[in-house]
């Protein structure tokens, strides 16, 4: 019976149309790379805590907004990510525990992939999380849900992508920053000083 069944199975696949296995490998590597990136995205970035009041002034003046939008100053400030409650209110130049690496709007997929990979391998970095435009936009919508004027003034394309990360020791932040701020695809880097329970990157 076993043998007979085996023959049936062989017959069942006898019309195999065939496929170039090299192409299959290529396609799998592309899709697999995407799975890895998505996994990184899910790494951290907890939801905005209910009831947390946005501290607009804390980040005003950082000037991270995309060029063509030219929104009013108040909207520009409202679009800035907000320091997490367990971080100091204002960004710091030195001694940061966490950082947000904002990508330029013209950053290519290749630049983004390379940057993420390099950061993940950097021995000074403890944790990495990616925040897409969509995520940044959704957070903005949650934060300003009661203010339709703000919501109407921006769309998802106005928000930058960013990579949120935590350093192993704050002493390494200055060297880290100067090294990466000129990297391909990076627009700016904002450091924050947080306690260990803050979300990676130090912003909500």
């Amino acid at each position: 019976m076993e043998r007979n069944l085996r023959e049936h199975f062989e017959q069942a696949v006898s019309d195999d149309p065939g496929f170039a296995l090299g192409d299959l490998a290529q396609a799998a590597m592309v899709e697999g790379g995407q799975i890895r990136r998505n996994r990184r995205t899910r790494l951290a970035v907890p939801a905005v805590a209910a009831g947390v009041v946005a501290v607009i002034g804390a980040v005003a003046g950082l000037n991270l907004l995309p060029e063509p939008a030219e929104p009013q100053a108040t909207i520009a400030a409202a679009m800035m990510p907000v320091s997490a409650p367990s971080c100091q209110e204002k960004p710091v130049e030195t001694g940061a525990t966490d950082a947000a690496v904002f990508l330029g709007h013209g950053t290519t997929d290749r630049q983004r992939t390379r940057l993420l990979a390099t950061l993940e391998d950097d021995p000074r970095i403890a944790a990495v999380a990616f925040e897409s435009r969509e995520e940044a936009y959704q957070k903005f919508r949650i934060r300003w849900a009661k203010d339709p004027d703000f919501l109407a003034a921006v769309d998802v394309g106005s928000f930058p992508e960013s990579i949120r990360l935590r350093l192993k020791t704050p002493e390494q932040y200055t060297a880290f920053r100067s090294e990466y701020v000129t990297a391909d695809g990076v627009n700016s880097i904002v450091g924050r000083r947080c306690s260990a329970d803050a979300p990676v990157g130090g912003t909500l």
Binding site: M1, E2, R3, N4, L5, R6, H8, F9, Q11, A12, V13, D15, D16, P17, F19, L21, G22, L24, A25, Q26, A27, A28, M29, V30, E31, G32, G33, Q34, I35, R36, R39, N63, L64, L65, P66, E67, G104, H105, G106, R114, A117, T118, D121, D122, S178, E179, Y180, T182, A183, D184, G185, V186, N187, S188
Partner: protein, 188 residues
């Protein structure tokens, strides 16, 4: 803010990327060799599970993609063949769950819960069609045990079932298959 502030990477970054590129090239080569050696069998197994070569192709690609995503972790010390079957079967089960609302309707052969063979030769079905009439779990057991020659223990590990559950499903699925295939299915 402008885009003009983007310059070439600092020296350290360049070093990192170069060594990463070399490591990636070696990893990709190893992975490609694995796909080339294992791809055809995996795709045929997928076909036996879904009876559609295009879907089998997609399921196979997806299985390899998931393996590529964790290649560094599984490339040594893991039974890659068993691992690939497990990923594939999970993908098939997922697919099956998603489609369960619109279950595949197959031909005119009536279900015969009593297991009596079809009365006339016209109603006879081939193996792929007969397999499609089993539950997806029973199908998986038959394919792993009889098309791929996995042991009961190996099939149990792949499917996350006990060995007795595999034996029971196997016996039940075989008798159902016998009924569906009628005279074509000789043997004890």
């Amino acid at each position: 803010m402008t885009e003009t502030g983007i310059a070439t990477p600092a020296g350290v970054l360049t070093g990192w990327s170069a060594s990463r590129r070399r490591a990636k090239a070696a990893r990709d080569e190893e992975f490609t060799a694995f796909v080339e050696s294992a791809g055809t069998r995996l795709r045929r197994t997928a076909y036996l599970m879904c009876r559609d070569w295009h879907l089998a192709q997609d399921l196979t690609q997806h299985t390899f993609a998931k393996m590529y995503a964790v290649w560094g972790r599984i490339r040594t010390g893991t039974n890659l063949e068993a691992y690939s079957r497990r990923v594939l079967m999970n993908a098939v089960f997922d697919q099956n769950r998603r489609r369960s609302g619109s279950e595949i309707v197959l031909g005119e052969l009536p279900d015969r819960p009593d297991g009596t063979p079809p009365a006339t030769p016209e109603l006879r079905v081939d193996l792929a069609e007969a397999l499609a009439r089993l539950t997806v779990e029973d199908r998986a057991v038959l394919v792993l045990r009889h098309a791929e020659d996995h042991s009961v223990e190996s099939a149990a590990a792949i499917l996350g079932l006990s060995t007795s559950a595999v034996k029971m499903r196997n016996a039940r699925a075989l008798s159902r298959l016998r009924a569906l295939l009628g005279d074509d299915f000789t043997g004890p």
